[in-house]
């Protein structure tokens, strides 16, 4: 009897472990990521878009750069292998006035816009590189828009931020001093 129960438990454990491996992973929904497949080759971030397919995803942070792929550490590879745009539009509040540093890593181009103003960008394709820029944020609600494109070959996108006086940059979407993300719009 005991042996049967032990065997049943082992089987159940194995089945649960297998199902767990096979269930597509999920993360805390903090940011809305919109992926748009372009009909034509993308050479520049602000070129006219000819969208053929769109996907809406909820992600926990802008860490989309693993093995030179547009890949989330938990969700795996997102998007397509080439010629697509990615847009992240975040409403957030800042507790007290401070200057914030932003670090964008991208392969290929991107635009980072806060409250309607582009604060840094790289318009064309490139291998993965990081740029840092700063912006003064007053207390209250703000809007951050990150636009990105993947042309062909390797891909990747990261965004980190930190307030003045804090050395360690953290991925956008995770807990950053003074920043509170507002509920993302549902896909």
């Amino acid at each position: 009897m005991l042996k049967n129960i032990v065997f049943s438990c082992l089987l159940a454990l194995a089945v649960v472990a297998t199902v767990n491996k096979l269930i597509p992973p999920s993360v805390k929904p903090v940011l809305t990521l919109v992926l748009s497949k372009n009909a034509e080759q993308i050479r520049q971030i602000d070129q006219p878009r000819q969208i053929t397919d769109t996907r809406h995803l909820l992600i926990d942070r802008v860490e989309l750069n693993s093995n030179n792929r547009f890949k989330h550490p938990t969700l795996g590879v997102l998007g397509w292998s080439e010629n697509f745009f990615a847009d992240i539009d975040t409403q957030f509040t800042v507790a007290k006035k401070s200057r914030y540093r932003f670090e964008v890593g991208s392969d290929d181009g991107y635009q980072l816009e806060i409250d309607g103003k582009i604060i840094c960008q790289f318009q064309r394709d490139r291998p993965f590189q990081r740029n840092t820029c700063s912006h003064q944020l007053s207390a209250g609600q703000h809007r951050l828009v990150l636009r990105y494109f993947q042309g062909y070959g390797n891909a990747g996108l990261t965004l980190k931020a930190a307030p003045e006086g804090v050395n360690k940059l953290k991925f956008w979407g995770t807990k950053i001093n003074g920043v509170r993300y507002l509920k993302p719009s549902q896909p």
Partner: protein, 497 residues
């Protein structure tokens, strides 16, 4: 109806196994319609028999002879010019005739014989455990293992060899479990079967241990009484009667191989001796004197080829080989071939990838650990044995597994994960025995819980087989779907982008 089923249960199970096995192994075995892995070598060799061209290679000829026979019989490429295959030892795409060839003929022996092997497996487990339900259940481990299926559905040697290996095991078990003691002709017939397995690949020599097993049962009273005279007398007759058929079968296969080689290929003479080349030119390939010379040349070629095979180099880019110590955990997988297409920027890849069914492989490993523990508990700690018959069978099959792995670990040349398929089969049988040993009382009492557990284990095995089936049958996968199947980093599955 109930009594009818009970009366014909074994036949019903055999029919079920045959149907399931055929569905898994044989369906669409001509795909991929392209060469992969060692098919490039074996199809070249098989075609040489069809066209009467002499060749030598590291493996004995039976596998390629069967491939040639089925290719000739099916004649699906009768209108194709395959003569380029005889001018090389490794068929490349540009050696293929326009429009390619059908692979159904060359792959038939391995595929069909492996599908039939499930019947031997059933016979082995049923005779050793005495339980047809357990036998049926563990046969599904043989049928639903992704590595066995992909490798058997090809023009390669393992499927053919495993058929003869399982036939030998079945016959040895049959001899031992029959009411009368082993007869000399049974030793001889077992020798023929082992000889056939060795004539496909020489690693089947591990089966010589079966003679020890049969002899042990044959002479058990004399062994217990330590009657050396009796043991010696029996040994003097059984050794030649058993070993001679192994050698005769092996050489008989080589005789056909040598006889069929009526021409020397323009691309290579395989360092054949002058005497052998003269005999070929004179058309005397079937003469006994030619056989003696050619056999020596073939053995020399096999030996020198083996010496030239490189060692495992894990630092080498794209190394497909792996250390034997990792095989029980299913490392390392091999990407035999792939093709891809892109639709609207999404890449779909068809992988033909050697990957294990982890339920089968991990269970086999667990079975081995349990059986080694059992053996230690008996011989070191003198714990009692609850079923002597099962215990000795566990000793036998664990011994075969460990002997094979010990021998393989001594080999310095690069080896591949599919070299584990032979001990895997020993391990599946051992697992069935260990299961029967552990749940002996429950099985005797027809415990519903035990049979439900067993049924769930089989269902789980089949389910996981289908999870990995895209690698086995070249079904399309996206990168995300691939990643869902990349369970362990040490498997070293390689994504195609």
């Amino acid at each position: 109806m109930r009594s009818f089923i009970k009366h014909h249960l074994t036949r019903f199970y055999l029919l079920l196994l045959l149907l399931v096995s055929a569905a898994v192994y044989i369906t669409g075995y001509g795909q991929p319609n392209a060469l992969f892995w060692d098919e490039n070598y074996h199809i070249s060799s098989a075609e040489k028999y069809i066209e009467g061209v002499m060749y030598m290679e590291p493996h004995p000829p039976l596998g390629k002879l069967l491939m040639a026979a089925s290719e000739k019989l099916l004649a699906l490429n009768a209108d194709k010019d395959k003569s380029a295959f005889t001018r090389t030892d490794y068929v490349r795409d540009n050696d293929l005739p326009d429009g390619g060839i059908s692979y159904y003929g060359f792959r038939l022996p391995s595929t069909v014989l492996m599908a039939l092997s499930a019947l031997f497996m059933f016979g082995i487990i049923r005779r050793t455990t005495g339980n047809p339900h357990v036998a049926l259940a563990f046969c599904f481990f043989l049928i639903f293992d992704n590595a066995l299926v992909i490798h058997a559905r090809s023009a390669m040697l393992e499927g053919i060899q495993l058929f003869f290996i399982l036939a030998s095991l079945y016959y040895a078990v049959r001899i031992v479990t029959s009411k009368q003691g082993p007869k000399l002709f049974q030793y001889a017939l077992l020798g023929v079967l082992i000889g056939l397995a060795v004539a496909v690949k020489v690693n089947a020599l591990v089966l010589l241990l079966l003679f020890v097993l049969v002899y042990g049962v044959d002479q058990w009273p004399a062994i217990k009484a330590f009657n050396m005279l009796e043991l010696g007398k029996r040994l003097a007759t059984t050794v030649p009667v058993a070993v001679a058929p192994v050698a005769l079968t092996f050489f008989a296969v080589f005789y056909i191989h040598i006889g069929l080689g009526g021409q020397i290929s323009p691309h290579k003479n395989y360092d054949a001796s002058e005497a052998y080349q003269q005999a070929i030119k004179a058309g005397n390939t079937w003469s006994p004197s030619t056989f003696v010379v050619a056999m020596q040349d073939n053995l020399r070629y096999m030996s020198s080829y083996a010496d030239g095979v490189p060692r495992l180099d894990v630092c080498k880019e794209g190394e497909n080989g792996s250390a034997a110590i990792g095989w029980p955990l299913a490392t390392k997988t091999i990407n035999y071939r792939w093709s891809k297409r892109s639709v609207d920027g999404t890449t779909y890849v068809r992988y033909h990838n050697l990957v294990a069914n982890p339920v089968v492989w991990f269970s086999v490993l667990a079975g081995m650990i349990l059986s080694v523990g059992l053996i230690i508990s008996r011989f070191i700690y003198n714990n009692p044995v609850k079923d002597k018959g099962l215990f000795y069978w566990i000793c036998g099959f664990s011994g075969l597994y460990l002997s094979y792995m010990t021998a393989i670990l001594q080999i310095e040349r690069v080896m591949y994960m599919y070299h584990y398929l032979v001990p895997l089969v020993f391990g599946i049988i051992n697992l069935a025995l260990v299961f029967s040993y552990i749940f002996r009382e429950q099985l005797l009492a027809s415990s519903r819980h035990t049979y439900i557990n067993l049924g769930l284990l089989v269902a789980f095995t089949v389910g996981v087989f289908f999870v990995f089936a895209p690698f086995t049958y070249s079904w399309e996968l996206t990168e995300a779907q691939f990643e869902l199947r990349d369970w362990f980093a040490y498997w070293k599955l390689q994504v195609v982008r």
